[in-house]
Point group: C2
Chain length 336, copies 2
């Protein structure tokens, strides 16, 4: 029996290309003492992975050339040398663009989805992106009733949760997304107050229309032109949640940013957040939000690509904003 | 009897020049209902005043052309229509580059300096600059024992207090100042661990020598080349206290700043602070620090210029870093 995985064949310069990745076949790994073998059901694809393949020092060690691509999975335990797990358990915490993964049991978490909550939700709305949005809004955004909140990448896995939390906190929430279909989803399904299509019209003009008094909280996932348009519109005491700048991930060198004089003059708080610093928030968020997912009050959308062999093309599209909703790869069936 | 004041004759373009200011003589003003007339003993000159004369919108309304220049004073009450004050009281809270000021009593605070604390201290170490440093370190800096702290404008009114507070919190404190005399003062008198002379050698090299593991807290008063040198040396979870960027105040338009990607990758917190947002901190700081001033454990230095007619030249020098210590104008004697 063999295992398939996608390896980083070569480091991309600029936008990744299909040739930077390769699907390879290997011998099935065996779990050692304390380890667990899972078969992958869903694989998560996320923008942060661009940083892991750049070779530049970032907040996580880069993936070596020839190494497996990394990514969160939901999997089923096939064999376990950790007494806490047995075959058939459904777990999160195994990483890899692979059909099978061996992981120390200590890193795995068993999940038991309530009725109405699919396994895939544990990689999106209830997984790393959902916890990112929740931690960011709790620790940095702290939206007050009546405040104006702008959410970039609003139809995405993080933005969609962040905006719905801002609505629950009583904010006026303006999304920014690419394309009329995404904007319709953000307004009609997610229930944001408005959504600006960054592919149509002028960001500056639209922001002035929807945020006539300025912006109290900006959730930054994209950088680039949107950051430039938002920056001068931040109000006194505004919070800027720095979660990502995906529009600039493919750039060879960072562009200059805004003058920080405005941080003094407007007493801005510009703060970065990476969810792996907040491990305690995962269980907290799942307990809070799983009932909302089950009862349908917390909306989410998934973009599921079938088959590990299609992961690299999907990832390349993700960096161009071609996905619509949380991007996942269906690697195997829920049950075999 | 007449009153003298310095007015803003014309708005400066770039660095202010003597001709932008004029000393004028006017009729002595009379206090109306609820108002108090003070004679000025000391006038405070501070970098933030550059923003008030630019005409650009800032965090405070600009001074109109022809209007009195604004500045904190320590004064003696000459006449009062507020029952809370009587002639002879010493007060802070009257504003103006003027020998005499009329102020609503509600804006004034009576002070009673303990032995060993001069009146001038209420404009510096115990006044706005001291409270700025205290609020910034309490609300944003939050120095932990062993952390590396860099203080710009370290010999100045704000930086000198900020660095001493960082030392009290157990930090390793590196000052940056302009000139050997200021650096000597920062190390020998203020007791910082080291001081970098930004007029000699390479900032980058010196920062690498004194902060080999990077910087946990940066107290930003200056901007410009120092900000550029500090930014890539900020550690994961570093705090950057944005208090001022005096090196860029005379610039016609703001320079670009650093890419904010590092805020994500290193989970930086970049936050601005203006002391007028923290009125509760004034009494708190005076109660805490007046004993430290009296017993000599909190060091400070004043640069006192004699006579209101010399205020504008002193202010021009302040923006070039020519003062050494808290810049004050002696407008009148302590007692008459």
């Amino acid at each position: 029996m063999s295992r398939q995985s996608v390896i980083l064949k070569s480091r991309p310069v600029g936008a990744p290309k299909p040739g930077n990745f390769e699907l390879v076949e290997q011998k099935m790994p065996l779990p050692g003492p304390g380890e667990v073998l899972t078969r992958t059901i869903f694989l998560s694809l996320d923008p942060y992975m661009r940083g892991r393949i750049s070779g530049r020092a970032s907040y996580a060690a880069p993936i070596p050339e020839g190494g497996d691509m990394m990514g969160e999975t939901v999997g089923e335990v096939l064999a376990s040398h950790d007494a806490a797990f047995e075959p058939g358990d459904i777990v999160v915490g195994a990483y890899g663009w692979a059909t099978h993964v061996v992981t120390p049991g200590a890193r795995l978490t068993k999940i038991a989805p309530p009725a109405g909550v699919p396994l895939s939700a544990y990689l999106g709305v209830l997984g790393m992106p959902g916890v990112t949005a929740y931690s960011a809004m709790t620790d940095i955004g702290q939206v007050q009733p009546g405040e104006t909140v702008v959410i970039s990448a609003a139809s995405g896995a993080v933005g969609s949760v962040a905006g719905q939390l801002a609505k629950r906190a009583g904010g006026k929430v303006i999304g920014v997304a690419g394309g009329a279909d995404k904007c319709l989803f953000v307004q009609e399904t997610l229930g944001f107050d408005a959504c600006i299509d960054h592919r149509a019209g002028s960001l500056e003009t639209e922001l002035d229309v929807f945020c006539p008094e300025g912006i109290d909280v900006y959730f930054e996932n994209v950088g680039g032109a949107l950051q430039k348009a938002v920056w001068p519109r931040l109000k006194v005491f505004a919070r800027m949640i720095m979660c990502g700048m995906v529009a600039e991930y493919n750039a060879a060198a960072p562009e200059p940013g805004p003058s920080l004089m405005a941080v003094v003059a407007k007493r801005l708080r510009v703060e970065g957040l990476i969810v792996s610093d907040k491990p305690h928030r995962f269980a907290e968020w799942r307990a809070l939000a799983a009932p909302w997912v089950a009862d349908g009050s917390l909306k989410y959308r998934e973009d599921v690509v079938d088959g590990l062999e299609n992961a690299s093309a999907a990832f390349i599209g993700l960096l161009e904003g071609r996905n619509f909703g949380k991007l996942l790869v269906r690697v195997g069936p829920d049950a075999i």
